[in-house]
Symmetry: C3
Subunit: 355 residues, 3 copies
Amino acid sequence: MTRECTLQQLADLVGGSVVGDPHLPVRALNGIEHAGPGEITFVLDVRQLPLPAHCQAVACIVPRDAGPMTLPTIVTPQPSVAAAQIHTFLLSTPFAAQGIHPSAIIGNDCTIPAAVSIGPLVSLGDGVVLGERVTIHPGAVIGNHTVIGDDSILHARVVVAERCTIGKRVILHHGAVIGSDGFGFATDSRGQHYKKPQVGTVRIDDDVEIGANSCVDRAAFGVTWIKSGARIDNLVMVGHNVVVGENSILVAQAGIAGSTTLGRNVVLGAKAGVAGHLHLGDQVMAAAMSGIHNNQPAGARIGGAPAFEVRSWGRATAAFTRLPEMAKELRRLRKEVDRLTGLLGSTEHEKGTEA
Amino acid sequence: MTRECTLQQLADLVGGSVVGDPHLPVRALNGIEHAGPGEITFVLDVRQLPLPAHCQAVACIVPRDAGPMTLPTIVTPQPSVAAAQIHTFLLSTPFAAQGIHPSAIIGNDCTIPAAVSIGPLVSLGDGVVLGERVTIHPGAVIGNHTVIGDDSILHARVVVAERCTIGKRVILHHGAVIGSDGFGFATDSRGQHYKKPQVGTVRIDDDVEIGANSCVDRAAFGVTWIKSGARIDNLVMVGHNVVVGENSILVAQAGIAGSTTLGRNVVLGAKAGVAGHLHLGDQVMAAAMSGIHNNQPAGARIGGAPAFEVRSWGRATAAFTRLPEMAKELRRLRKEVDRLTGLLGSTEHEKGTEA
Amino acid sequence: MTRECTLQQLADLVGGSVVGDPHLPVRALNGIEHAGPGEITFVLDVRQLPLPAHCQAVACIVPRDAGPMTLPTIVTPQPSVAAAQIHTFLLSTPFAAQGIHPSAIIGNDCTIPAAVSIGPLVSLGDGVVLGERVTIHPGAVIGNHTVIGDDSILHARVVVAERCTIGKRVILHHGAVIGSDGFGFATDSRGQHYKKPQVGTVRIDDDVEIGANSCVDRAAFGVTWIKSGARIDNLVMVGHNVVVGENSILVAQAGIAGSTTLGRNVVLGAKAGVAGHLHLGDQVMAAAMSGIHNNQPAGARIGGAPAFEVRSWGRATAAFTRLPEMAKELRRLRKEVDRLTGLLGSTEHEKGTEA
């Protein structure tokens, strides 16, 4: 289901300008290879123009006026942002509350507005508070006294355990687990472990997205905190008492150990890991598979395990591929230097100087 | 529950030949350490013969005629393949449809043959189409307009989200998530992210197996495609628009970023990661924990992160363990060369030559 | 809900001694930053004393008598163990059986004591045996003929597949999957895979804890075995026929391939991986992100991928950061040695010696 707009309306939405017919009707956005009649597409670079002959798009979002084109354009400096906004807008429909499915189990003393959609086989504990227009898909489980903000979407089989707080417009993807116990033990001198009760909670702020089967552990004491706008991919592990800063991005299978804090707009590449009790400053970027063992100042770009400055890491990994050759060269040099030393030793001897 | 056969029947099944009594009854297959009376076992190499005295197997699958043996054998060049086929055959039972459990929730306009087994607390959306002899275990969730092919098995708590297509004889293990949103955002100059709607779908072809709690994201546009015979282990991440070729193997905790395509019979070792927008040719093999940042030609064998040719990588990792010693040797050589240069400098001076 | 005790009672519980008022009432334990009136806190080192002025704790667990303090203390050599024990004790409440929720689906021939709590939308197969005081949270699925020991807790959406055995006081966190099929295939000469039936099971001993969305595969034949006291974090993969020794710790996103055995008190750091068919002796410690390809003797401390002795690995990684500089130095030395050789060649020539 989509809505139809004029090209000018879409340009206004993203603060862009139209080149061509402003009244052109547009009903959907699609990739260059998939766009059909009535659909707009986008390019990130004018060198992608002109579009291939088989592309049926009726308009294109472009980063700057590309001169004479075969089709109308919206010119905007950030076409990918504009495309995301326009695509979202064209797909958006008014919230249609489906109410509470009769197979859902609702605990005592829950606060549930009329305008929600709670799917089949959902379980809500006691004292759960739902915001307006919350959608909970089949099989999700919400623990006692958890609060879910307006317009949030919990996909199938999500768990949000007890006493967590989820903000507005949050999206939790299928199978994500919010509020499982942190991994905390005390070990005695005989190697036996004693569980440390994890009595804290999880707070997820507005506009956060958490991927399928990812886990955010509750705090030992206090709170594990995912700040607004953070985007977390699938199969990511966020340990207890971690703080993930605003708009930070954790790519798939990344992991953050307990009590580490991330600033704003930090990016952890896929499978990157961060040790516990560290701080990564704003806008730190860690390459995929980085293993981060030290605090990082704002803006640091790092790679490797253990991680260090990313360009140095790039050079080191390039050199690494030649390491066996370096070892061989080192052995050759040793031999040659020994020979030279032998020769010069005698020379020295002849000259009567000491080593 | 098992069926009983003669040794000859089993040999015929796998194209092998019997040495010994062809009428010997066999009712099960088991490992050497577990085999009991009436059970057949197998060895991959005749050097594993004779079997240990305590082994109670009545027959053995062997790779070639091993001369006089104490027990009958099936000779076949690939004993492990034969064992898998014989084991599967001996365990197989006719499909016994259990129908739809009364606690399952079935959406509108679903197409469900009589011969299916839909367990307790399963949720099917609207317009779901199931093939013949489909089994859906407890707690699984199927989204709207998803199609499941004949003889497929969805284990407990699987999610297949809306509009996905699952082939025949597919096995989805417990907790696997098929069709979650791809991880796609556009970021503006202030670092704010805009979700790119993920309007594509997932197609899984025949005879695919996907492991527990693994995730296959839906495409942004178009399709994420797992081709026939691919085998995916637990906790694997397959990003949006990825194509996994026929019979490819993704071992546990591997991950593939968006839009990367794999050829046939590619093997990604455990925890291997592949960056986005790459192509790995047929039969590429990547060692466990590889980090793949470049296209790979068919047949490439690679390891390391960043990954390169596997034998070179092996030599480089061996040299790596001696790196501190190499650094020390380098410092020693520097000292010695400086000394030699000093000595020869004077020699040169004496000879009146310049450096 | 908490219970109230005197300081002396708590000291007795952990074998510690009181300095100060033994009759002081204590109702809860909390971290230094969170402790309020009536609460005890703890320090691991007397250098953390005195507590900050704003800390409202009424008592403190300390590792040794710290001299005159402003508040009463419990002195015990392992304050973190004592804190875990005291915290657990203060939080503990008698088991309050909630019975079987009417929406739970119970199979045939199950053995279920009166004193259990089975939450909404739980599915038990046939022949399931539950111990006393078992708690099963919403949405969990238990397969046929599985046995769960006394006082075990299965959190929301856990799956324990058929024929598994779970010990006493086991905690399975949300979304964990126990007993999924092992990843076993035989591949023929054309690259086609044949599934090896996984007919074994999983045995989890007493006092084990398994993290959210972690997976423990069933054995091909025989048993995958997690021994008593082992602690497994989130998103961990345990392959078929693996044995995890007593009190071993597997940190988040670690993985163990098939048939590998771990001794007692082994620690695998986060994201560490162990290849198949290996043995790690007692108390092996592997750093985060280790890739273990060889057997390890008891007590080995290792890091890196491939992993080797941890201090050597530390030195090698330090040298790695200087690798490009080493390569440059090597090239400089080559040039200088070539020059020296040229000079000495002529010297030699003059002296009539051969190279």
